[in-house]
Amino acid sequence: MTMGATQENGDDEMDQKVKKYLRGEAANLEGLKDKKLKGQLAVREELYGKSAKAAAKIEKWLLPSEGGYLEAEGIEKTWRIKQESIAREVDILSSRSQYDIVLPELGPYTLDFTSNGRYMAAAGRKGHLAIIDMKTLNLIKEIQVRETVRDVVYLHNELFFAAAQKKYPYIYNRDGTELHCLKEHGAVLRLQFLKNHFLLASINKFGQLHYQDVTMGEMVGNFRTGLGCTDVMQVNPFNGVVALGHSSGTVTMWKPTSAAPLVKMLCHPGPLSSLAFHPNGHLMATSGKEKKIKIWDLRKFEVIQTLPGNAKTLNFSQKGLLAAGTGSFIQILADFSGSQNYSRYMTHSMAKGYQVGKVLFRPYEDVLGIGHSMGWSSILIPGSGEPNFDSWVANPFETSKQRREKEVHSLLDKLPPETIMLDPTKVGTVRAARKKEKPTKEEREAEMEAAVEAARDTDFKKKTKGRNKPSKRAKKRKEIIDRAKRPFLEQRIEEQEMSRKKQKTNVETEMPKSLQRFVRQKAT
């Protein structure tokens, strides 16, 4: 009996895993009348099932490492356990990851890790930039730029990082050489890098959002958000959408190809202090100045949970732990049952006087990096990192040859900015057929704008022998734009006439009797 029960549990587990690898529901082939297509699709679905099962088996048996955990025994509570007691239980290599670097003169520090967790860039407000190899805890390079540095972010690998300095952001090499000065961005408050698209996104003091392609240097989009100055900006790793938190309490989400935000949601009654995205893209944590942390479901745009707490900085780990830092106190929240109900997991208090500026989990390690006003620290949070890495996604043990190959492959796979959308699984799907509703005014306007843009972008043949005068070209361009606008304007005129006619009939009935004879008679 017990064997049966354990077997059933095992089956359930495997089913769950298989579901994860199937990436959605199987297509419903019942309604298909085309037998040939039905046969082909049935074969495909079977293949998907087989590959999902194989992947689930690999996950169960072949992965080399297991995740970390922290379990309290007896009446102990996990959030009372201090870092010192963890250090005593853990091996030497891991206890090396707990440290405090004190650099009091150079201002509050902010950190960024490369995607494989191997290198860290630290930037002090007073101009100190440092790159550290986290495996050997070696300082690779540090420079003093003698200007305010507000943010630092790594580009696609450890060779390049961008620092948001007083007037403009700069891009530096691993050796500290300044490579580029990005003047168009202005005085940037926050920088974010979209890995799949090679886009550097920045928000500046005037509330302007800039997207720049770092491979070719092209400015892909710049938008005035219109909602004022803000320094709360995060990129959602799941779909590449940039979210900004404003002082009015709204969170807006942007994509580089449209001037209007995708989503505008009112999250808090007061200004937002920080924002964080769960790596699976469905959860967002926001905190406002009214000392509440809210956890949102991004599919329905609803609050799942409200937690009390002040959080100047938030960050989700790869395994879904949420770190919230305020003052000199950091609390880590975790959902144990998987039902997205976050509760206290661990806490950490730093020395009084240390003001936490940024918390960031280190990828593929159970480590939390804290940038504060006196330097930076690192503490151990068991169970926060993904234990098994994939060499072709991010390899902490990368050699320089592997790094070069990876750079070339990721450049070949660089996504165009049009692929950023709220639901990234919609690529390659069929757009639902529009019901026979008439497009609303805004949609028509949008269509006209689109047509005019397309017309404006066409280039025509270069004529020679003196026929290529600029005045003629301008005239031709104007003609093309007018031709593109024409059907929309005609539609508009038609509608105006229709509405006028309707108005007229109304007017007729409203006229007093004595004036009836002056009303224009319709030809019978």
């Binding site: 970390g68 495996k135 994939d390 996504l415």
Partner: protein, 452 residues
């Protein structure tokens, strides 16, 4: 308390010596990879473009004949050889690797109308418009090396004279008999100088004959009276006949599904039939703009190649309504015969301009030995391209083929005519009582009747 933290020791995750391979660890969790579909789409686009860059299907032409090439035969036992016969009686054995003639078989007076090789590859049978059937000894492939002179001639094993000129010949797949087509269908044995059996059904000449690869006693023939007839050698009378609207120039059986055959028709289409159910075509393959002259299946049974009077060679999927590939050259004139090589990688076409041409079956395939990692990568690119080939940008690249202007214009003209006909039919239907006008499906439309 129980604590465990992730700690990776460098030894387990890096290589020991520099001669070792680098260690690779995989985790297939979808949450580690973001925007998978968009990345696949970009890869599909790049794969389509690379495909087009590497698409160079023409390998070479084999020059030597002095008149147009009307028929070819494959040697089932030897991959590199192909036989071809031309309109002045010249029969040659070619070596495909060096593209030179290995042996000539002189002796046929008049045009060579049909060539076929026996099952063991030792006897070549040729028939022609001089009313003779000649049997030749095929020189042993291992002895006749590349260095042998191209002017080696062979003497015929036997010459059988009969009453009428012959139009086609085909050998049984697993036996001793071969069939010739002419005024009637004759079944011959190698050792007899007269046909063992004769089938005569219908009044017009039979222009092509093919034995079934699975069932050695079944054969299909097509005649000038627009019919396709199936015969069974064990019965003394013919089995089945289907009459179409236009004449069928050639028939090929699917080697992997031997109950299906495809007929190359004069009306620019190929029709696939199930031999057990001839009242409806299984599939109609359209894309040529002039009569389809010859058809041959790939040994995988998944593709077939057709050669047509419109100077192009097309490759179709066995269930595809439209062609996958089209090959044409300025110098290639009317294509009269095509063959798929026995390993499925090459296509040979014989045409009016006295040349045999060797093409790749997959235009962007890399020839020669492909390393396993290269092969895997190519298979992956093919799969990802097929997954997204319906999206407009990818489709535009995958579909694009350059066609010579006359063929492009002819295709447009055909399309306009068919579209006009369809529209008129629709209007007639719309303006008449519902149910009074019935459109026949395209699979049935070209069949007049089936006769037992």
């Amino acid at each position: 308390m129980k604590v465990k933290v992730i700690s990776r020791s460098t030894d387990e995750f890096t290589r020991e010596r520099s001669q070792d391979l680098q260690r690779v660890f995989r985790n297939f969790d979808p949450s580690l990879r973001t925007q998978e579909k968009a990345v696949e789409y970009v890869r599909a686009l790049n794969a389509a473009k690379l495909d087009k860059i590497f698409a160079r299907p023409f390998i070479g032409a084999m020059d030597g004949h002095r008149d147009s090439i009307k028929c070819m035969a494959k040697n089932p036992n030897y991959l590199k050889a192909i036989f071809s016969g031309s309109d002045d009686g010249d029969i040659r054995l070619w070596d495909l690797a060096s593209r030179r003639t290995v042996c000539r078989f002189p002796g046929q007076q008049g045009a060579v109308q049909g060539l076929t090789v026996s099952t063991d590859g030792s006897v070549l049978v040729s028939c022609g418009s001089d009313c003779t059937v000649r049997l030749w000894n095929v020189p042993d492939a291992n002895l006749a090396d590349l260095d042998s002179l191209s002017d080696n001639s062979a003497k015929p094993l036997a010459v059988y004279v009969w009453k009428n000129a012959f139009r086609a010949v085909d050998h049984q797949w697993d036996g001793e008999l071969f069939a010739t087509a002419g005024a009637q269908v004759d079944i011959w044995n190698h050792n007899r100088s007269q046909p063992v059996n004769t089938f005569d059904w219908g009044t017009d000449t039979t222009i092509s004959v093919r034995f079934n690869p699975g069932e050695p006693n079944v054969l299909a023939t097509s005649a000038n009276d627009r019919s396709i007839t199936l015969y069974d050698l064990r019965m003394s009378s013919p089995a089945r006949k289907v009459i179409m609207r236009t004449k069928t120039n050639s028939i090929a059986w699917n080697p992997m599904e031997p109950m299906n055959f495809t007929a190359a028709n004069e009306d620019c289409n190929c029709y696939s039939y199930d031999a057990r159910k001839l009242d409806e075509a299984k599939c109609v393959h359209k894309d040529h703009v002039s009569a389809v002259m010859d058809i041959d299946f790939s040994p995988t049974g998944r593709e077939f190649v057709t050669g047509s009077y419109d100077r192009t060679v097309r490759i179709f999927q066995y269930i595809g309504g439209h062609s996958q590939e089209v090959y044409h050259t300025k110098r290639m004139q009317r294509v009269f015969c095509v063959k798929y090589s026995c390993d499925g990688s090459y296509v040979i076409s014989g045409s009016d301009d006295t040349n045999l041409r060797l093409w790749k079956a997959k235009a962007s395939e890399q020839l020669g030995v492909v390393l396993p990692r290269e092969k895997k990568k190519q298979e992956y690119l093919e799969a990802v391209k097929n997954r997204y080939k319906h999206l407009p940008e990818v489709k535009r690249i995958v579909r694009h083929r350059h066609l010579p202007k006359p063929i492009y214009k002819a295709a447009n003209l055909r399309r306009t005519m068919i579209e006009a006909e369809r529209r008129k039919e629709q209007r007639r239907k719309a303006h008449s009582a519902p149910g009074s006008i019935v459109t026949e499906s395209i699979r049935k439309r070209r069949i007049i009747k089936e006769v037992e």
